[in-house]
Symmetry: C2
Subunit: 205 residues, 2 copies
């Protein structure tokens, strides 16, 4: 199917158009997905469409940490057993899920909703940085953990947040960088390995 | 994200469930697509949902050839310039589009809606074979071109249709099998190359 200029139906054409607007889905994949739905019960298509519309219209962002949730406050922020004095700053919802899956973190989060990226036109005011500063200034926060991706954009954002928070007296930490668990040392890139050497820590058995 | 047992919202959970029912889309991809929709305008999600529901409820199958269309009869069957005495039998809608894209075919189609596959529980009665036989018996068809995939299932289906049509007197042909255009001969598989030799045709310059 080199060209796809001959869809036999305008309804099909429109559905393929809409589905192929999703990231990573081309017209050929969109056609395959849409034809799959046509082979299934009509109720499956209705359930899919309804779940998307309900999500888009019903979703809330936690008023404290800006994570996705069903109500005004997310489960983490509403949990009295979590350590509310430790705030982990992450880029997005997936990062919260990734950290929750480690089962190593018992504090709360602050979801920026992105990362400073001049190339993509994302500046500090597009992110939940002002609300983080307010949250720290309101008191009760002892430590802010910067847990952004170890990239140029992540470093820029880390530095920006550090500058904004440095006068508040809060302890600011960043997640450790070094060689990944089970990595073979000879295949680690030079920057990672160099930083792991510079950032060496006292050994404890 | 090795586990994904901690989606922060039941609305998100449900949308991810529904999207990941689509073929070839796992939960991780589904989450990425759904979070993408949350970042876009609400109208994009509504347009997507509406296009799928409209497609599922509004689509027609051509009463003659069973191709997808918007009305009772598809554009090909409704076109008086096409050769209605030549019927090309294909497995599905994508195959019609692939053949149309060659711009080499001016006859009409008959879309089986699948292929005989005992492994997947698809028998002749699940396909539009009886309607093909009726169509030929009704008269006006001079040639039936079998254009199914050159696989075991395709061969089985071809043979079944041949048996059903052999007493009608219609001319039955099959698309040519041989080495593909621009293939390097040394990399062609033995069966393809062997059949291309056995099926050699008079050379014309």
């Amino acid at each position: 199917m080199p060209l796809m200029n001959s869809l036999p139906s305008s309804l099909l054409e429109r559905a393929v158009d809409e589905v192929s607007r999703l990231p990573g889905i081309g017209r050929k994949t969109a056609l395959r997905l849409v034809l799959h739905l046509l082979r299934q019960d009509e109720c499956q298509t209705e359930a899919l469409a309804e779940s998307l519309v309900n999500l888009r219209s019903g979703i809330h962002y936690c008023s404290v940490c800006h994570n996705l949730c069903d109500t005004e406050m997310c489960d983490v922020c509403a949990n009295p057993k979590r350590d509310h004095s430790t705030v982990c700053v992450v880029e997005n919802v997936q990062d919260v899920m990734a950290i929750e899956n480690t089962q190593q973190y018992h504090g709360v989060y602050h979801v920026l909703g992105g990362i400073i990226s001049p190339m993509e036109g994302v500046g500090p005011s597009d992110l939940e940085i002002a609300s983080l500063v307010e949250r720290v200034q309101a008191g009760g926060v002892g430590e802010v953990i910067l847990a952004l991706s170890p990239t140029m954009e992540g470093d820029t954002t880390n530095f920006y947040i550090y500058r904004k928070l440095q006068d508040t007296g809060v302890r600011i930490t960043a997640i450790a960088r070094g060689v990944a668990h089970n990595d073979e040392l000879q295949y680690a890139d030079e920057i990672t390995l160099g930083r792991a050497l510079l950032g060496r820590v006292p050994f404890s058995a």
